[in-house]
């Protein structure tokens, strides 16, 4: 479980997060949505420790993330674009991450098999297509059986079959009791995956609750229209 309290972040004159509170529960998929510049990326980067908050706290299972760096060995982060060192192979990357995480347990190679990547793993990354790189990106994310998954647009650049496989994987992780945090602009994906929705506007939470309630409150029967309704209300308010 990830708890975010009173998070504040400024980049110079830009006030990106203005006292953001949010809880992302275990065994649930939380979709972080909102207009561009609402602070989604900043929130994710603060949870990962890439960016530091000006004030406020992030706790993972009750423990503040500043306490030590080891909490990151429990996180699988899938960046939006999988850009890796061009001359290394996917196998090299897997070995590097394994060494950095000090992980010697069994790895989860289900996606290698299901995405039919076995023949691509030893090739230099520069020879792989954009879609294949994105598959490698997904494999690396799930490889070390993380309890917390932070996925930034996980299906972008994937063909429909691969996208479905990755989505199945996300749902399986949820079923196993793991915490999944997701951003995406593809509303149909979020609709398929999300249990909870956190709607960010101007660095605050505009709505946080279940997907079901969001649709009920906005009186819309799909997420895209519900989010659009939230955005319109935000402008009116």
């Amino acid at each position: 479980m990830i708890e975010v309290n009173e998070l504040e972040k400024r980049f110079g004159a830009l006030h990106v997060l203005r006292g953001l509170d949010l809880t992302m529960g275990s065994g649930r998929v939380t979709a972080v949505v909102g207009p561009n510049g609402a602070g989604k990326t900043t929130l994710i980067k603060i949870i990962l420790g890439l960016t530091r908050a000006d004030s406020g706290s992030v706790r993972i299972d009750g423990k503040p993330i500043e306490a030590d760096d080891d909490y990151r060995s429990r996180i699988g982060y899938m960046p939006q674009i999988g850009r890796f060192p061009e001359n290394l192979s996917a196998l090299d990357l897997m070995a590097l991450l394994r060494e950095l995480r000090g992980s010697d347990g069994p790895v989860d190679e289900e996606l290698v098999e299901r995405l039919r990547l076995a023949d691509e793993l030893h090739k230099p990354i520069r020879t792989l297509s954009g879609g294949t790189r994105q598959k490698v990106n997904a494999v690396l994310t799930f490889l070390f059986r993380p309890e917390i998954l932070i996925l930034d647009e996980p299906t972008v650049g994937l063909d429909p079959i691969s996208s479905g496989i990755v989505k199945d994987k996300i749902l399986a992780e949820r079923g196993a009791g793991n915490t999944v945090v997701l951003t995406s602009h593809i509303m149909s994906d979020l609709e398929e995956l999300a249990d909870d929705v956190a709607f960010l506007a101007d660095g605050r939470i505009g709505y946080a609750g279940t997907l079901f309630d969001l649709k009920r409150i906005t009186r819309q029967n799909n997420l895209e229209r519900a989010v659009a309704a939230m955005m319109t209300w935000g402008k009116a308010a």
Partner: protein, 263 residues
């Protein structure tokens, strides 16, 4: 193995396998071989090779380093999301870039000499000093590349800053020194010029090398002053110490920037 070494090993092998690295090494190999074949003596060849090294090493390392770091931005973020400390990652990335570039330079410059042998014994020492100076410049300018890539998020501005820095330190600086000397020739400028030489890593490397060659005619004004003040060994030692400072200062600043950076 420490985290620093793990990162350095993988990044180093990525850099070593890049096409640019091959071109860089082959260039020095060809230059060294060609000069050795056609310059007549090993000493002359080394002198010409010195100019090539002093001119190209700063340019290539700062530009390649900056471009490399921008292209590695997303992967650096992925590494930062692993359970590693920032200083470990920084030192790993720094070594992973500096060591292959240094190896390429050292191999390219010295292999032809190894093959042909040295026509006078002192040459081996001079070659060693040349390689060391090249490695020192590589270390300085890779650190500058880190500083630039961390300072500017915009690639184009970063690249501009990298080329600008090289232009200033490699070309404009000596012009400025000459201008000062010409303009204020009536005053005792030795100490000022000495200070100016210490303040530029490229000039420092040049002085370090020229003191070895012992030919003051080619040393330019700064070198002449330097030799008059320090002569042989002490001058070279001081220059080497200053180069060490020139490496550690930007590395320390880069580390500070890397630790504070919001990625």
């Amino acid at each position: 193995m420490s985290t620093t070494m793990k990162v350095a090993r993988y990044e180093g092998s990525n850099v070593l396998r890049s096409r640019w690295m091959l071109v860089y090494t082959l260039f020095f190999l060809t230059a060294s071989y060609g000069l050795l074949r056609f310059a007549g003596s090993g000493n002359k060849a080394l002198l010409s090779l010195m100019s090539v090294v002093l001119f190209l090493v700063p340019l290539v390392t700062v530009v390649y380093g900056t471009v490399y770091l921008y292209s590695a931005r997303e992967f650096t973020e992925l590494l930062l999301a692993q359970p590693v400390k920032r200083w470990q990652l920084f030192t790993g990335l720094y070594l992973g870039l500096t060591v292959p570039l240094s190896l390429g330079l050292a191999a390219g410059v010295s292999l032809p000499f190894m093959m042909y042998g040295f026509d006078e014994p002192a040459l081996a020492g001079t070659l060693a000093v040349l390689v060391l100076a090249g490695v020192a410049l590589t270390s300085v300018f890779t650190a500058f590349a880190f500083l630039i890539a961390l300072r500017y998020d915009d690639r184009l501005r970063g690249l501009g800053a990298a080329i600008g820095l090289w232009l200033v330190l490699s070309l404009l600086y000596d012009g400025l020194v000459l201008f000062l000397v010409a303009a204020f020739g009536d005053y005792p400028l030795e100490r000022a010029v000495l200070g100016l030489t210490l303040a530029n890593p490229v000039d420092l490397a040049r002085v370090m090398l020229l003191l070895r060659f012992d030919i003051s005619a080619l040393m330019g004004y700064t070198g002449a002053v330097f030799q008059r003040f320090f002569g042989g060994v002490e001058g070279a030692t001081l220059a080497a110490m200053m180069l060490g400072l020139w490496i550690s200062a930007p590395v320390a600043l880069g580390l500070r920037a890397f630790r504070r950076k919001d990625f």
